[in-house]
Assembly symmetry: C2
Homo-oligomer: 211 residues x 2
């Protein structure tokens, strides 16, 4: 067991520290956020910080790193209030990873990486056609993280699309069957193998696996 105390953490080389701290929090969701600026510029970028914030209303949250450099996704969301969230799946992980490259603002990462746009049900922002689990969303609010300058965005889910074959009778989506990918750290992609579900936990009863 290796131990890093907080003095050691502060003195680690920054890339080492970033890898370590980004891994120790556990697996991450991997999603592509699609946006379109008010003058029509499309953009898509990978995010590993999207979390569930609530089901009713259906809310998500995610973070932007400090806005000290231009962040096209952020600017487009603020201009249009619209974005899409598209789960990264096995068949297009290298394209999804490549959206993280720093292309100039006037370059669409869709075109640059070979991902296809798709417009659905009148939503202004483009979806990623290759992704089968995705939703349109609108900007609700942001919280400034004073400790490091990051911004935590809250969004509301509008239209949700998912493959019928992988939705359980009770609404649960089998992400592993749908070949969705989890993130580890900054650059790791993990593919699920096996999934277990448990019944609702009740005090003093053995946890039961769902059939």
């Amino acid at each position: 067991m290796k131990k890093f105390n907080n003095t050691i953490l502060e003195t680690l080389p920054s890339r080492y520290r970033a890898n370590l701290i980004n891994s120790c929090t556990g697996y991450k969701s991997l999603n592509l956020i699609g946006t379109k600026s008010s003058n029509g510029q499309e953009n898509v970028a990978i995010f590993n910080s999207i979390i569930h914030l609530g089901s009713n209303p259906a809310l998500i949250g995610f973070t932007f790193r400090p806005l000290t450099v231009q962040r096209d996704t952020y600017r487009h969301i603020k201009e249009t209030q619209c974005f899409t969230v598209n789960q990264v799946q096995h068949s297009f992980i290298s394209k999804a990873h490549q959206t993280a490259a720093k292309y100039p603002t006037e370059i669409s990462e869709f075109a640059a990486t070979g991902l296809d746009t798709e417009y659905l049900d009148g939503h202004k922002a483009p979806f990623v056609k290759e992704s089968t689990i995705k939703y349109s969303a609108t900007y609700i609010r942001e919280h400034f993280i004073a400790e490091n300058g990051c911004v935590f965005i809250i969004g509301a889910i509008q239209n949700l699309y998912a493959p019928e074959a992988h939705i359980a009778p009770d609404g649960w989506i089998n992400l592993t069957q749908a070949h969705a990918v989890a993130g580890i750290g900054i650059d790791g992609y993990a593919f699920g193998a096996k999934t277990t579900r448990f019944e609702y936990a009740t005090p003093y009863k053995e946890p039961k696996i769902k059939p």
Copy 2:
């Protein structure tokens, strides 16, 4: 492809909606948060919302559901400013799941579920002995999510412990090798099979898999 528009989402049975919305955001980290009240009551509970917020300083964030009912973990953190975060691993998922059961405040979920406490390096809150990837943390601040009454907590990582064998030379932790588990929805546990890492993405270059 099944579509749920936001009117349909609002009218779904609440359990179905909770399963669906909790799955559509992607894989989740699964961690046990260990706490101890100011009068010595130990507590451990599973959380699937912990995210990385920053590496320097090393910060994490996670959410509590509305504080309209007593939440022992929240109360202990506010009383002592201390907690531990312990990644859920394959060997103890059913015990980890069982910590979600609503035990009375005076019952330690460690004792009730058979998880072992461990105290390390003078930190006041108990660790989960069975977990090999874990850290002590201190409370920094909270943001109230006005839209649904949830609370987003920001914590600072203090001492970090991880298995040396699964830390890559550049600091990345191979969570799959360490048998860490990802969450799907509210009650799903997914085990990684294979992991791929990519080199830093550069415009106009093919993404390269790390050797």
